[in-house]
């Protein structure tokens, strides 16, 4: 996994609440057996018209947003299906960071597993960013994960953000957690050994 330390990039303002993972990557594209190649299908049903041509009304197709790498959306971003294809598609397209007032749990977790940073900012700040990015295609934000800070060029937007230190550590170092858990092999084995004395029935005691 690529480490995420600092990022500076253009904003795609997706001014909708409850963007679900069915929209981020529709089901007809979930049949691939690789982690890559999903970017071409990102937001497919919003992005393309019936005849397959780009939908000119969808923000991603408007001039000036082609190279956006920071997606800013409304509350409850990433709700619905657990498909990790959603962050795979975002990453494959070129997004490194998603900013929203709140995220659905599974999507939020899936982002960290793939080096995509989900940032929770107050709804008021998100709305300000959306406004600026809608008015100025190419509007840029800076994100510093170590310093837990987001700001824009003229420092009209400056905000800190919260993130669990464990998640920050993994992202900063580009680590996945399987290796870390495997270091606990003895503890897992001990748990298994004790549990089998209960005949495999867990009681909750």
């Amino acid at each position: 996994m690529e480490p995420f330390i600092k990022h500076n990039g253009a904003v795609l303002p997706l001014n909708r609440v409850n963007v679900d993972t069915d929209q981020i990557i529709p089901k007809q594209f979930l049949k691939r057996i690789e982690r890559t190649g999903f970017g071409q299908f990102l937001f497919n049903d919003w992005r393309f018209l019936e005849d397959g041509s780009p939908n000119p009304d969808f923000i991603l197709n408007k001039p000036g947003y082609e190279n956006a790498s920071i997606l800013v959306g409304g509350r409850n971003f990433g709700c619905g299906s657990s498909r990790e294809h959603a962050p795979w598609a975002l990453l494959d397209y070129g997004f490194k960071c998603v900013i929203a007032p709140s995220f659905a749990d599974i999507f939020f977790n899936n982002c960290f597993q793939n080096g995509v940073l989900p940032v929770v900012l107050p709804e008021e700040t998100v709305n300000q960013i959306l406004e600026k990015a809608e008015a100025n295609p190419g509007y840029q934000l800076h994100i510093d994960l170590d310093g837990q800070r987001v700001w824009d060029e003229d420092e009209e937007i400056v905000s800190g953000f919260e993130i669990e230190s464990f998640r920050r550590y993994l992202l900063l170092n580009g680590l996945d957690d399987i290796g870390l858990t495997l270091e606990r092999d003895d503890e897992i084995a001990t748990f298994e050994a004790n549990r089998s004395t209960h005949g495999g029935v867990l009681t909750g005691d």
């Binding site: 409850n18 069915d22 049949k31 409850n76 498909r83 990790e84 669990e164 464990f166 867990l202 009681t203």
Partner: protein, 466 residues
């Protein structure tokens, strides 16, 4: 010892390692696997030369993109076939039990787990599928995970989790005639909103839940994720134990009775508290249906499609307006005036034998409307067989419903069962997102009874009047 909720008991009894500021390492008792979210995880194991730690605690089935017509026909879609083939190969290579599409025990992953008795109280159960919350109906802590976590569980038999908060949703009273578990959960999501339970594990309590069948409890728990919850659960009781007794994978004889005594201890202790409590009056509920593009956009059958102009919040006006445009609905339309093109009875939410009996009871001796194409897709090969032994298939086919073989089918339309653009469907599934059942398709979520009645009438009807 301080009183604990059922969730806290399960959490505490599965801790392998905990450390301040880190997600807790929890042991996983059952890992369910399907073809769509597992190939990349098995690939990860191969790349790192890792094994499946406990293949005997891992069970796989092919459900998401299996065709639901004849088994003998080849799969037309080469990419779907590659994914099904990958599951065969991975299960073979890593020693995982697989119920493939030809197995007599095949079915939707959340249907066969309980059916075979893999699903048991007190277990931590995970699957790369958000509707894993279904298994919570048995008093398990069951949650959907992403593919990277699938790989983590395969390699370590554990999962790392930050502890969710707890939420009690208490449904008091008694459900009236024609009001089902589906109506209960739709009403709950309508009340709390689709992000209302984010970061929480829900426990459903109250008289309505105590009197509900296991099939009904599974329907309720299944849609916990539609309220944003990490998991949903119901304390196990005699209804649970009677449902489980004798199933293939549960302890048998005296061992089962001994297990039951242990399982009874799981219930939330007197005096334990939840972070949030929500109450619903079950007696006042009526059949519900969705009108919009997420499960929280729902209302009672006696009502009307909402009018965005009557909402104060600009965001609400915008999202409701957009939903109605997508759904092709005029504000203030009576729910019973909404006409349908398709009806789908199936999915991990409502494809169990009780669901099929309830729908058949409505359809018996009637005919599907000329303007509607209706299909019934049982949740598993075993349910299909049982339904056929009970003659339910005859009732459906004589009424003009298509009777299919088991799979996820048109719940998400990964196989060829999809809506055409603009088609309107009454569906017993769990998501009415834009394009969920086919690009441009319009989905209304309802109970099996409401779906069957709508198929016959050609429009929504109040099943209380049926």
């Amino acid at each position: 010892m301080a009183p604990k909720t059922m969730f806290e008991k399960m959490w505490d009894s599965h801790i392998v390692h905990e450390e301040e500021g880190q997600p807790t390492v929890l042991y996983v008792d059952l890992h369910l696997v399907h073809e769509v979210t597992s190939p990349q995880a098995f690939d990860g194991l191969r790349m790192n030369n890792r094994k499946v730690r406990r293949p005997e605690l891992t069970v796989a089935t092919a459900d998401h993109n299996t065709p639901t017509w004849e088994l003998t026909k080849p799969i037309i879609d080469p990419i779907a076939k590659a994914q099904l083939d990958a599951l065969d190969k991975n299960c073979d290579e890593f020693g995982v039990t697989l119920y493939d599409r030809f197995s007599p025990l095949q079915g939707i992953v959340h249907v066969i787990g309980p059916e075979q008795g893999y699903t048991q109280p007190g277990k931590i159960i995970v699957c790369g599928d958000s509707h894993t919350s279904t298994h919570g109906a048995f008093g398990a802590f069951a949650m959907g995970i992403g593919t990277s976590e699938v790989e983590h569980v395969l390699a370590t038999q554990t999962i790392r989790q930050f502890k969710p908060k707890t939420m009690e949703i208490r449904i008091d009273g008694t459900l009236g005639k024609g009001v089902t578990a589906k109506d209960v959960i739709l009403a709950i999501i309508g009340k709390i909103g689709i992000g209302g339970a984010t970061g929480h594990a829900i426990e459903y309590t109250g008289e309505v839940m105590r009197n509900m069948s296991m099939e009904g409890r599974m329907t309720v728990c299944n849609m916990s994720i539609e309220g944003g919850a990490r998991a949903g659960m119901v304390a196990p009781d005699d209804t649970t134990f009677e449902y489980m007794r004798g199933r293939a994978q549960v302890p048998q004889g005296d061992e089962f009775d001994a297990a039951v005594e242990q399982w009874r201890n799981l219930a939330t202790d007197e005096g334990a508290t939840y972070d949030t409590v929500v109450t619903i009056d079950g007696s006042s509920l009526e059949p519900h249906l969705t009108w919009g593009t997420n499960p929280g956009m729902e209302g009672p059958i006696s009502g009307k499609v909402p009018n965005p102009a009557s909402y104060e919040d600009a965001g609400d006006r915008e999202s409701i307006g957009r939903a109605l445009e997508y759904m092709g609905l005029e504000p203030d339309t009576l729910m019973t005036d909404i006409k349908l093109d398709r009806v789908f009875i199936g999915s991990c939410t409502n494809s169990r034998i009780d669901d099929l009996r309830a729908a058949a009871n409505i359809a018996k001796g009637k005919k599907v409307s000329d303007s509607v194409y209706a299909m019934v897709v049982p949740g598993s090969a075993a349910i299909k067989k049982q339904a056929e032994e009970e003659g339910l298939d005859k009732i459906f086919t004589e009424a003009g419903f298509d009777w299919r073989i088991a799979g996820c089918s048109m719940c998400l339309g990964m196989n060829p069962d999809i809506l055409s653009p603009g088609e309107r469907c009454a569906s017993t599934s769990n998501r009415n997102f834009e394009g969920r059942q086919g690009k441009g398709g319009r989905t209304h979520l309802v109970s099996p009874e409401m779906a069957a009645a709508a198929a016959i009438a050609g429009h929504f009807v109040d099943v209380r009047d049926w």
